[in-house]
Assembly symmetry: C2
Homo-oligomer: 223 residues x 2
């Protein structure tokens, strides 16, 4: 692969997407980082993490786009303040699921990728050890890749790369540590923007992963 090949990377500012961006960087891609404001509870915090991480990773470009449509349609505890964020691992698809979020994000990334001639789109989806959303499976990613390659100019052919899809979150933390990911700049908490709550599903999964990996999590928790 040429070292100037370009990749669009979906970057929320959490551990998984940040490690994914570091992997893309490590593989020699020029980074085009894309963040989404979809009315999630912690967007202001995520936005500052996104800015800081992009600088550390020396992104070629980084952009934020508005998908407030997802806030408007609601139906998720991440975008509707009336639905409480779960504080444990629920069974089945948790209420933090946002309708077809990754489908929308990958579609927008595909449009940007076409205009900047990026040959890859990176996404930090995790199938087995993630929160259990339907839009994080390998089969889903493959189907979106097919749709994207059918629905754009033929010369724009690109791959969707989900490099941590079959890893555990503890493995992701280890890979990140090896790549010197600035974990102190990442944000996982679903509920708070100041100090992480420590008890939401996302905080619980993050803390467990750092513990299993034997790596100190540099961020602070309320509880």
């Amino acid at each position: 692969m040429s070292h100037t090949e370009r990749a669009v990377v979906l970057l929320s500012g959490g551990v998984d997407s940040t490690v994914t961006a570091a992997i893309a960087k490590n593989r020699g891609y020029e980074l085009f980082l894309l963040h989404f404001d979809y009315g999630q509870r912690t967007e202001l915090k995520e936005r500052s993490c996104f800015a800081a991480i992009g600088k550390v990773l020396k992104a070629k470009r980084q952009e934020i786009t508005n998908v407030r449509f997802l806030e408007w349609i609601g139906h998720s505890s991440l975008t509707d303040p009336r639905i409480p964020v779960p504080t444990e691992d629920p069974s089945g698809i948790p209420n933090t699921y946002v309708p077809f979020r990754n489908g929308i994000f990958l579609s927008l990334a595909a449009a940007w990728a076409e205009t900047v001639a990026a040959r890859a789109i990176f996404i930090g989806a995790m199938q087995e050890d993630g929160p259990g959303y339907p839009d994080t499976t390998e089969e889903f990613i493959a189907s979106m890749e097919k749709a994207i390659n059918l629905g754009r100019r033929p010369e724009s052919e690109c791959r969707i790369i989900a490099p941590i899809i079959h890893n555990t979150k503890a493995e992701v933390v280890k890979i990140g540590a090896e790549l010197l990911v600035p974990f102190g700049m990442t944000w996982s908490c679903y509920s708070s923007e100041g100090v992480a709550c420590g008890i939401c599903q996302s905080c619980v999964m993050r803390r467990r992963a750092f513990e299993k990996a034997g790596i100190k999590d540099p961020i602070r928790y309320k509880v």
Copy 2:
């Protein structure tokens, strides 16, 4: 099919999408109409057509969403005023192609469809007699349908219906006339918002279709 089954319909306000919405209505669906503001040249006009058509078709709900990201990335004569709109049928993919537009629109429609329990998404794509965009083929639509059904809650299963995909535009005009579509409320011109230019690719295709169908086009043209 139950007569209260719901469908999300992508409705730009042009002939194809309006006839598609009328077909969905005629099949007994309750209409959830979705329009996109993506910075296209004629959005203000399209928006008023969308409002008027929704009333005539007695839509259950009609919403407009912001996809100005497509304007920001540009690369299309519809969203970048520096690129001239072609005035004839170009060969290959014309510069009015907007990167992965239908992929983005279908993804957003899929999210809304999930929250309102719609079992169908209607799109007025035309494969053979359309402007030749890659995101209007049956194969592309089928791949998006697969991605949407893999990437959402399993109980949200839905179909993407493209009822005019293999019709000629003249046939679409005839179908619309039978369904009493208010063609005077539709807008096709790529360039102007007051009186249709009459010479852009979209005006040319529209006029030719009405002529072939032997039906009078109620809108006025400059040239």
